[in-house]
């Protein structure tokens, strides 16, 4: 038991070290980029060219293969920001603050993708590209939280104060997540309830569900890749005057 706990603590301390993260991520990146790209290609080609068309919506429902994965990662990234905020506030782990800084723009970009793809989907099917219903509005609030984090960070000169401020903001914004998730059940919305169910049968036929799940998986893998890259860049920004970083650059790492 103590051995396991010890190795967890060791991993935690390693994770907090910039040089360790910088070198391990450079080893992880090629394989994970390749995997993410191949799985994305598989999911999207399957979804767009080989899955059946929907009986009520025809071909346009295929937007689901980008809309749902984008919305899913947008919320999950925010959840991870809130956890990082908690870790930063309690243990003062520098890497957690850096994580928030690096991930916020990625989360914002996927929220934009979810909102815009939803609007393009809604325009012909619903008859409008936007309504102020609970699901759409709470997703817009998610985007505003991302933008607030990005803005708040850049408004501080001192990195420590900036990390602290965005940690608090990231945690506060997490209350929005269950609201997004449950909005379609709690209130009358134009947006339909979710089709992928965990504890009961999904309401999307399996021929459409499988490529959708692959697309979702590939988006998570891509977020992992983008996250590693953004964090490396942020480490470089903070550590460019340090000797270890200069050595890494000399080795072309």
């Amino acid at each position: 038991m103590n051995k396991i706990l010890g190795s967890i603590t060791l991993f935690y301390h390693k994770l907090g070290s910039y040089p360790w993260f910088y070198s391990i991520s450079s080893k992880l990146l090629p394989i994970s980029t390749f995997l993410a790209f191949m799985i994305f290609l598989l999911g999207i080609v399957w979804g767009i060219f080989y899955s059946p068309s929907d009986v009520t919506q025809g071909e346009i429902y295929r937007i689901i293969y980008m809309h749902v994965p984008a919305a899913s990662v947008a919320q999950s990234i925010y959840f991870s920001l809130a956890i990082a905020g908690f870790v930063y506030l309690v243990w003062k782990m520098k890497m957690a603050g850096l994580f928030i800084k690096a991930m916020a723009p990625i989360g914002a970009s996927f929220t934009i993708l979810a909102l815009v793809s939803g609007a393009i989907w809604g325009q012909p099917t619903w008859g409008t590209w936007w309504v102020w219903d609970a699901r759409l509005t709470s997703t817009l609030v998610l985007l505003l939280f991302y933008l607030a984090i990005i803005g708040l960070y850049s408004s501080f000169d001192n990195k420590k104060t900036a990390d602290q401020a965005v940690s608090i903001l990231a945690m506060v914004g997490a209350v929005n997540l269950p609201i997004i998730k449950k909005s379609v059940d709690w209130w009358n919305t134009l947006h339909q309830p979710s089709s992928i169910r965990i504890f009961e049968e999904s309401t999307i036929s399996s021929e459409m569900l499988y490529p959708l799940l692959i697309c979702i998986l590939s988006f998570y893998l891509m977020v992992f890749v983008f996250g590693l890259m953004a964090m490396r860049t942020e480490i470089a920004k903070r550590e460019m005057t340090k000797d270890w970083f200069k050595k890494m650059v000399k080795k072309n790492d």
Binding site: I60, S109, I120
Partner: protein, 46 residues
């Protein structure tokens, strides 16, 4: 395949937007990191 998209301008534009967002997330940190590395090398050589 061409029919699928010509009938579905909406679908095509979402595909396009997705690719733009993914490329942006991939290329943007690369450019910034390379800039920092280049600057460092310049300082080292001078």
């Amino acid at each position: 395949m061409i029919e699928l998209f010509s009938e579905n301008f909406h679908l095509l534009s979402v595909c396009f937007l997705t690719i733009i967002i993914l490329l942006f997330n991939y290329i943007w940190p690369l450019i910034k990191l390379n800039k920092i590395k280049k600057n460092l090398k310049k300082i080292e050589t001078t």
